[in-house]
Symmetry: C2
Subunit: 477 residues, 2 copies
């Protein structure tokens, strides 16, 4: 234990998923790890960060996220008050490339740094048990093993991979060798695996940076070289480290499980028994939520009669009602509604594919669109006009811009706006309005200490998002 | 037939229902008979009016409606281009009072006028078959019978009452006596009734005005006297005849079936076999709609996978999706969503009762509220502000009004507004805005030839509908 106490573990949180299986609450533009799906006050990303906040056990965390999600990551980190390094992937290259970046990043602290790779979208309520497990597994990592956490199964799940164990690791009480990783089984296979003592594969990995680098070099050298060049040529931009795009794109798209874990002789596992879920489907979300006497998990403005064992999740102001059903999932958002058989909620991923094929904008875009300066959402649209509600955080500053096809009326309903219109700069207070003629160069800033909210009425022959000329932007867009 | 050709039939359409069983598309503020539920281009009220538009068979129709729905009735009538008398009930007193008014109204044309009482919310596609049936049944009415149309059952329905027939009427080929009206049976009872040749009770009645008045006098004299006084003291207001409220309120609340039909010896029936539905539940709506190969009836922006025999009805801009379900009803509107077992869709009425108990405004109020001058709908609301879209028909004129707690910004997005603010009258064109300070006396008029649309942003400490002082109103509100 002396070794474990001396050096802390470097947590690396992978935020790359798009979470389409939890559509419509989770979408490409705001994936599930950033939404308050399970706990209305926090996202699973924030809960994950908090789980590794104890400085006695963990070093300052690193977050690996997509470039598009950088402002959400920064805002959610700021809300937790926890400092972290943020590495941005220019595109998704699957988990092997991300783990290679994590190992290289860890090696900068020292070759024997123990790295803990974590998903941002899992639910583990018992943070203390998780920290204990990480410390125990780190012992194996320090001995040169690539450790995983294996969850003791509580039911014959068919949606998880399994780990068959292969006997105790020497010098590491409680740790075992991995005999084999098993793909998601059918129901009978799951029963058999559990009978054999197999564990669920949680996807958490702990390893010494030098060990993982050696294994990558042996089993996935192209991934390693792409990651190495992308990190070496990375650019620091605001608070982010942007991996270099051309190099990173050379990494083959492959998972760390396939690239390394199924090939290495150094795979070890710690069996743990805390409650864990990857909340991969709406059925799984229902499974982790609190449920009432009828077995219903409810969120938002909902009313049910004669309904049991269902998840009814309502976002926004609308009223959602269910009559006489069992085992259903109903998710309503201001622009999209999902009604699904709970048992078939895994097919939501297929649904999203259909929505994309048919070019429904709701497939990927949320009605509330997050931007570095705050957010906007459309509240009405008609022929030749569109209405938006816009929120600008204190200090937020939109780009200097103009439009060719629309004029805009801004009515401030909360806070104070500093508005630039061509040569003029004016302060616009609550209950005041300002007019921006077609073609005028304008900019919106919140110079105040409270959020600014305004209603924008656009009038013109075309009100699409792409009618915008950005002349200057503090966020480098 | 000579008799039938000489005198036309006076159709009286009863529009009094609130249609809560088809919530949320149908609500107190816009009941199902006025919504385009079955045909996206027309309401069942409009279809009913058109069904009796042939002047060779029918006289100018009369509509009996609630006072609250008068502007919807007038607007929908104007859309059909069919002229009608409109009698307004100051409150709902059930069908006996309405039929008494219909008989009294008919008697003014002549005591032997044949009156056809019709519901506004039934679906009958074959208008020619209906007109033929009305002419045939009118023969029985002229002979002094109170005729009903009995629908030949196509399935053992439990949601309809039945009519047992009692042999041919003399001098009237094809017409029969009613032996007995039977309340809604259970499934076994329905099978038995059909085996005995019983018919569905459609609720259509044809009678000579003098005959119905005599029967009412004999069996429901209080209803008759209340209706007589309410009609005698009625006031003509714009294009409406308002029944006098105090007299009308004295009518006992009872159905014409109970008050007269189950007691009279003059009940006759014509068996008809055209397709008919009272579309009383979402299940019944599904039954009359066109369905695809999977048995799904779809409306609006919807996408389904693995779903069968379901009704998915989406109003507004949102996308509605269903995955892996059978025999469900999904109805989405901009402010409320219903998901129900199709078999249990009759319980929607109970759901609405629950919503009323819990004071959910969506129980009765639609998001789009119809007014004599057009409509408004809320598009956003927040702390200290609210945003509405307002449409004013050409010539429409809102009341002269003021508010104590809110200022208003109006941005015209279509058409031209004439705006009065205190002493000033200004024309506001598309893409222009006007500001109405707190306490200012203001009025909005559409002086133009096309609909006026504007976005209203209210800002203030209280934005409820009841913060309004009406100084003058052309619609007598």
């Amino acid at each position: 234990m002396a070794e474990a106490d001396r050096e802390t573990i470097l947590p690396v949180i992978l935020c790359g998923g798009s979470g389409t299986r939890l559509w419509p609450a989770s979408r490409e533009s705001m994936p599930k790890q950033f939404t308050p799906l399970v706990d209305p006050t926090t996202s699973t990303f924030q809960a994950t960060i908090r789980r590794v906040a104890d400085p006695a056990v963990f070093a300052r965390p690193t977050v690996i996220a997509s470039a598009e999600s950088r402002f959400i990551v920064a805002e959610q980190l700021a809300q937790t008050g926890i400092a972290a390094d943020i590495l941005l992937e220019p595109e998704r290259r699957d988990s092997a490339a991300a783990v290679a970046v994590a190992a290289l990043h860890g090696a900068r602290r020292g070759p024997e740094t123990v790295v803990l790779v974590m998903a941002a979208d899992h639910v583990i309520e018992d943070a203390a048990a998780f920290a204990r497990a990480a410390r125990e597994a780190a012992l194996g990592a320090r001995l040169g093993q690539i450790m995983t956490l294996g969850i003791t199964p509580t039911r014959p799940a068919t949606e998880y991979g399994y780990i068959r164990t292969g006997g105790a690791l020497p010098d590491a009480p409680g740790l075992e060798r991995v005999e084999r990783f098993v793909e998601k089984p059918d129901a009978a296979g799951a029963e058999r695996l559990i009978g054999e003592g197999a564990l669920w594969n949680s996807g958490y990995f702990l390893f010494r940076a030098d060990v993982m680098l050696a294994e990558l070099k042996a089993h996935a050298p192209e991934v390693l070289e792409a990651a190495r060049a992308a990190l070496a040529n990375a650019v620091t931009d605001l608070d982010f480290v942007r991996l270099e795009a051309v190099s990173f794109a050379r990494a083959p798209k492959t998972s760390i499980d396939y690239a390394v874990m199924e090939r290495t002789t150094r795979a070890g596992v710690l069996a743990v028994s805390f409650a864990w879920s990857d909340v991969g489907t709406w059925d799984a979300v229902w499974g982790v939520l609190e449920r009432n006497a009828q077995g219903n998990a409810l969120r938002g403005r909902v009313e049910l009669i004669g309904t049991r064992n269902s998840l009814v999740h309502s976002e926004g102001e609308g009223l959602t009602t269910v009559v006489g059903l069992e085992d259903v999932v109903v998710v309503t958002t201001p622009d999209a509604v999902l009604v699904a058989s709970k048992a078939q909620s895994g097919r939501v991923k297929d649904l999203v594919s259909v929505l994309r094929e048919k070019a429904h904008p709701e497939a990927d875009a949320h009605r509330r669109m997050y931007r570095p300066w705050g957010w906007y959402q459309r509240i009405d649209i008609g022929e030749r006009f569109q209405v938006k509600r816009i929120m600008v955080t204190p200090g937020g500053r939109l780009s200097l811009q103009k439009h060719f096809h629309r004029a805009e009326h801004w009515v401030v309903v909360k806070g104070t706006a500093e508005v630039t219109v061509d040569e003029r700069v004016v302060l616009v207070h609550e209950n005041e309005a300002v007019y921006l003629p077609i073609g005028s160069m304008h900019r919106l800033t919140n110079p105040g200490k409270i959020p600014l909210e305004l209603i924008e009425v656009q009038v013109g022959s075309y009100t699409g998002e792409d009618d915008i000329i950005r002349v200057e932007d503090v966020y480098g867009r």
